[in-house]
């Protein structure tokens, strides 16, 4: 099975094509002034030219937690590709992609829970840990039940907080997902090896709204 994967949940974006266990291609876009909506599509075009658009069986895409704008750019692109290619789109969470990378790495985690912390840029972090996804202030982080490993772009701040409280914390060097691991999680999900996850953004926060300055006047009466 050939899987196309894209990730644009955080500052760095990437695209990859995976054929079974083999990475056919992987392209990484470093953070730039142009948003993912401008940089990702031409990259995808190059990748599809390289491997052939008709050969794709499945599309994997990160659904967050992360930056809403980037997540939507990636998902909208994936939806359009999926519709036009007639292939399914699978959602992959940032923590699933990072866990996959750890599991396949030289030093897999043993006996540690993986906590993935993403900066919300709104004064708190998105925390994804086994069985739970939440938006939480640094001051209100839960107490880990046992040893933990921390990844994600807010990993340093979260690890420091937990360590200061005396928790058994290991700081990993994983800050952002890579598309090749998004692809392998998507493939596993399509084989039913992982619980289902909708290909929709994991917002974790309600939309930012502003309350009206004064209560509205009621409708006129006769």
């Amino acid at each position: 099975m050939r899987v196309l994967a894209l990730d644009s949940a955080l500052a760095t974006a990437s695209v990859a094509v995976l054929q079974e266990e083999e990475v056919l291609t992987e392209q990484i876009v470093p953070p730039s002034g142009n948003g993912h909506a401008a940089t990702l599509p031409p990259l995808l075009e190059r990748v599809l030219d390289e491997v052939g658009a008709g050969e794709i069986h499945l599309i994997g895409v990160t659904v967050g937690p992360g930056r809403f704008t980037g997540i939507r750019a990636g998902l909208a692109l994936a939806y359009g590709l999926g519709e036009a290619l007639g292939c399914p789109v699978m959602g992959v969470s940032v923590a699933e992609a990072l866990a996959e990378e750890l599991a396949r790495g030289a030093r897999p985690l043993v006996g540690r829970e993986l906590w993935v912390a993403i900066d919300s840029y709104r004064g708190h972090v998105f925390l994804e840990r086994p069985g739970k996804r939440e938006s939480v202030a640094l001051e209100q982080l839960a107490e880990p039940a046992g040893p933990v490993a921390i990844a994600g772009d807010a990993a340093i701040a979260v690890a420091a907080r937990l360590a200061a409280r005396g928790a058994d914390v290991m700081l990993t060097d994983l800050r952002a997902p890579k598309a090749r691991f998004v692809a392998s999680v998507a493939a596993r999900r399509s084989r039913g090896e992982l619980p289902p996850l909708a290909a929709e953004p994991l917002y974790l926060d309600p939309p930012a709204t502003r309350a009206p300055a004064s209560p509205p006047r009621p409708a006129p009466v006769a």
Binding site: N34, G35, A38, P42, R72, E83, A84, P212, P220
Partner: protein
Amino acid sequence: MHFHYLPRAEGPVLGIETSCDETAAAVLDSAGKVLAEAVLSQLAEHAPHGGVVPEIAARAHLHHLPELVKRVMGEAGLRFGDLAGVAATSGPGLIGGLIVGSSFAKGIALAQKKPFVAINHLEAHALSPRLPGLFPEEVPFPYLLMLLSGGHCQCVAVLGVGNYRRLGGTLDDAVGEAFDKVAKLLGLPWPGGPYLERLAASGDPFAFPLPRPLLGRPGCDFSFSGLKTAVAQLVASKPPGPLARSFAADVAASFQQAVAEVLADRAAHAMAAFRAYSPGACNLVMAGGVAANQTIRAAVAEQTKALGFGFFVPPPSLCTDNAVMVAWAGVERLRLGLSDGLDFSPRPRWPLEALSTSAESLPAP
């Protein structure tokens, strides 16, 4: 300014509109015939907030767009491979929605190796009167466009596809925005334009002497914030709680009358400026949601008659946000061989003049 119409990419065009709070998709054939269209209003989701909330809009666009596109493609009886191109509004507007619409369009375009057309929302409005079959006779270039909506308020000389001169525009609020704000002051639901018009029907348009900003001034700029403030002061003199219906109706009618007089005056100035620039020009097109207001329409129509201009108003479904006009702008651009790169970055601000292909400057009015 002449274009050679070389039919490059024959075939239907898919249009996508997500620049504000309407999710819309449409498919037109290469002659401009509407094969299928759908508009999904997010009104109910924004109404509790008394206005469009950008993040709510962006979420709703992403949630609804794929199904909507599937639906219009199904109704048109087409597969994506049958398309000549995919056109999506890519500015100006709320960036969250623009990213969703343009990214989805790019996904289809690159999967099928079809051209992607980044449509300027204002250009889509500007070209909408050219949609075949809309009026008994075709509206030829050049014509004068008055675009009057909740987000836009400007007079534009439409010289050709991609060729526009802004003659004037609002210095503060858009006219539709002023309608919505005044409606809110009166206790009417959002968006208030249509409610205000209905209430005004039972009021006295000369009950209150409201200001007519910029009336009689040279040029065709607009200003509505002072008028809105005058209404706010009028209403603030009443105690909190519901207004008496007769009072509210008089305020609504007086406000509407002031706006209509100002717009008619600005239209006259715009026609004079346009005619000085383009002597043979003789048509005015009014578009945008506010064009649906009958009092305003009548006031501007009278001016066009007095100055010997033809007066065209596209039907309401084409005046408010829709994807038919986006697909049509796509058809017009593809006919000229114009399409955009997949690296096109959606633009929250994107003035019409930035599109222009030939830079003749308009003499000062």
